[in-house]
Amino acid sequence: MAELTPQVFLDALPHARALDMRFDGIHDGKVRISMPYNPALIGDPATGVMHGGAVYALLDTASGMAVTTHPVSGGGTATLDLRIDYMRAATPGQRICAEAFCYNMTRTVAFVRAVAYDDNTDKPVATATGAFTNEHVKRSMAE
């Protein structure tokens, strides 16, 4: 069986694959996932800007992964709630990169903050804060 790398894990999520998400590593406990600009995901035809739903999915995925890769994670998670603030329109044509950090973990709940950028890394495209479940995955399922 192939090694369960983060990218293999990401590719096992059909919706992440549909949006062509790429795992870009973990830096100081922050999970980075990005997705390319895709005209099929445009939300505002007047500007060509990608739909908020696509950015939301990226931030949600990165946040979930920040939970499951946390040192005391049970291995499984589900979103309880997630709030996204859209700071500015993502520039059409550019990749969007999300960085998520699980800043507090309890036995049952994980608290996460995430930020999304395009090529301009000074001004975020969107930020997210959320609460996730911390679930123990049964060994037979994880294998």
Partner: protein
């Protein structure tokens, strides 16, 4: 005495409303990509997210992806808001029925923030949603939206979002 022009037959208005709605939906590529459908009954819109494998976020359960659900809720909120303001504009004569017949698509509101409350696991089957515009001002709007699957009273998720309204024609 001046005679008022005869009102248009209801059927004509109905067809125009449906055409305006489908023009609006067709204009948003993400909505087609995700396969969202919108059904109009009078002034009420019901959105459907027909099940597809690519909507899955947890293949072990399996369960719908939270991001797909959020995209569905946000699209429903946005479309409801857009639809209501579009109709107001038509009734007040800011947009002419002829413009709609020609496929006019209004400027879309922009999402300021969006908060999703995940109440139950999204099952691998169709989901439905309806939005309620709680406040729609000249500049800002607040919209609440609820999604369910088999049972209307057992919500799978709910969300509230704020939107920046486009400049009116």
């Amino acid at each position: 005495m001046t005679t008022r022009p005869r009102p248009e037959p209801v059927q004509v208005i109905k067809l125009r409303r449906d055409a305006a709605l489908s023009a609006l939906i067709r204009a948003i590529p993400y909505v087609s990509f995700m396969g969202f459908q919108f059904d109009r009954r009078g002034d009420e819109l019901t959105a459907t997210m027909p099940y597809q494998d690519m909507l899955i976020g947890n293949p072990l359960l399996p369960a719908l992806h939270g991001g797909a659900m959020a995209g569905f809720l946000e699209s429903t909120a946005l479309l409801e808001l857009c639809w209501q303001t579009l109709w107001e504009d038509v009734e007040q004569g800011r947009i002419l029925p002829a413009d709609l017949d020609a496929g006019y698509v209004p400027k879309l509101p922009k999402t300021i923030d969006f908060t999703v409350d995940y109440l139950r696991t999204g099952l691998p089957r169709d989901a439905y949603a309806r939005a309620r515009v709680n406040r729609s001002g000249r500049r800002y709007a607040s919209v609440h939206v609820e999604a369910w699957q088999d049972n209307r009273s057992r919500l799978v998720a709910q969300a509230t979002g704020h939107f920046l309204m486009p400049e009116r024609p």
